[in-house]
Symmetry: C2
């Protein structure tokens, strides 16, 4: 293994304010703004700030417009918004976002429960969505959730994931991310899906979004690094959790990801001690003990 | 990465009853016996049962003789005991153990704080210890702790670790294990130490003992699997914790390790649902929420 070349730099997208807080008890807009602003001072260069979803479906994000209007935006940071459909994209663009993500589940049952439509119906909207975003000068990322397993259907075949990606590529999405919604991924599954995706879509930029629900989050990151993947999502403090496994982790914790990468000599641009401080803030804001180990243990003694 | 060959089978040593309980508030002998017996019904084939240390140093293990005398020993299971010195080895052999482990820290400060002697003093005892164990028909493993970092000294040079191993090899130890006492290891550090150890001692069997104190435990396992390492320690439920980082994890959780390995098609012989049941028992016995994700999330939906 000594001959593997890792990326020299990794781009970390912080998803705590959106994917994290969406899976916590609701917190006030003040707290969200404070968290986003604090994250912006750690050296993170990408923050998924809010989602524009129906407030009845996800009450935690009902104040997306208010939160976004109050964030002290840094010109050095790319902020993004997640949308489930064309209506959400219109709201995100109206609010001034230029970096949008649309989420589609590879498994039909999860897509129906998550956004009340079949996977095929979601995919059918992609051309209009991409054209809407592009004509406003923005970019659209397709996030394929349940890419390594569905809480209702179990294993999801690689062929089904690739078929969703092909629809996205035809619709003209600018990039792709895979979400391990259930934390069922393990390194060989990651390797296989990344390799097959690259073979089919060599020029589509690929990011990975791992959950630590079964403890394998950083092992999956390591497997992906060996393939040169240099774009990962993570959530400060491991904010979030897993709606399908109460008490288990959701997103990998950003400070654990940064710890791993920086120790490997891979530049993230993030100030780890500052980030750990923000993980502590996140914990206070949600009022529960978060699952991050690096938040407890701190950086290594050197 | 697709061309890497993983081991077809991994031998898991369960260390919860010893390394785990040693770092928890004391539990009664009854609970220890119940835990060891329950672990023995999960398909695990190696259990580190107790340690023979001075009761003033580690009161949690003061009842080692009583616990061991009451375990319903299975002929299919290899039980082992940890000892800090010759006196401990005499007690372990007198109690009927034939598989002994002696622990020596690669970092001098940790060895002094852990067993009140310098590393050199511990190493000087190894020939007598090995000869004592061998003449009783037993085997002796050298566990090198702080192999990837010391809570007092920080980074530990590979050369210092290898020097400890050389002393052990000269003394005739039968096998070697590396302990990541502080959870500071990351995959490239694991790869380097394993490769250099094999180059220097190609015939010495090597096991690895990872902690998840900074979230990298299973990533380290995955890196070692790529090198063909097929012998890992783990603690049911992640029992234990880290004395140097209150609230952080200690040993990797056995059910997380087994989840990873079995999903990769690597045979462990362990019944994962049965093991998760025992992790729940461990949690009740120590009366605190343990850090195992698989204990919360369960096996994957297939």
């Amino acid at each position: 293994m000594s001959d593997v070349t890792f990326p020299s730099r990794v781009s970390v997208r912080e998803v705590g304010p959106r994917d994290g807080l969406q899976n916590e008890d609701p917190v006030p807009a003040d707290a969200k703004v404070e968290l986003i602003d604090a994250l912006g001072r750690t050296g993170l260069r990408r923050i998924e700030a809010v989602s524009f979803v129906h407030p009845k479906a996800i009450p935690q994000m009902a104040d997306a417009d208010e939160v976004w209007s109050r964030v002290r935006r840094s010109p050095d940071i790319r902020y993004s918004a997640l949308v489930p459909n064309v209506r959400g994209a219109e709201r995100a663009l109206a609010a001034g976002f230029t970096e949008l993500e649309v989420v589609v589940s590879a498994s039909d049952t999860h897509n129906r429960r998550n956004i009340n439509r079949s996977t095929a119906e979601s995919l059918a909207d992609l051309p209009e969505l991409a054209s809407l975003v592009h004509s406003a000068g923005g970019t659209l990322q397709l996030i394929v959730s349940t890419a390594w397993g569905c809480p209702y259907e179990g294993d999801v075949p690689v062929s089904r994931v690739l078929s969703v990606v092909s629809s996205g590529a035809r619709a003209g999405v600018d990039s792709l991310a895979y979400g391990d919604t259930t934390g069922m991924a393990t390194p060989p599954r990651v390797t296989r899906l990344v390799e097959e995706t690259r073979a089919a879509h060599p020029s589509l930029p690929l990011g990975l979004h791992f959950h630590n629900t079964r403890g394998t989050g950083l092992a999956n990151v390591y497997a992906a690094l060996q393939l040169g993947v240099d774009d990962f999502d993570a959530s400060v403090g491991g904010l979030g959790g897993c709606p399908y496994a109460p008490g288990a982790s959701g997103n990998i914790a950003t400070e654990e990801l940064v710890y791993l990468l920086e120790d490997m000599g891979i530049d993230t641009g993030v100030d780890l001690p500052a980030l750990i401080e923000v993980a502590g803030l996140a914990e206070r804001l949600v009022g529960r003990k978060l699952d991050s180990q690096v938040l407890r243990a701190g950086p290594a003694v050197r």
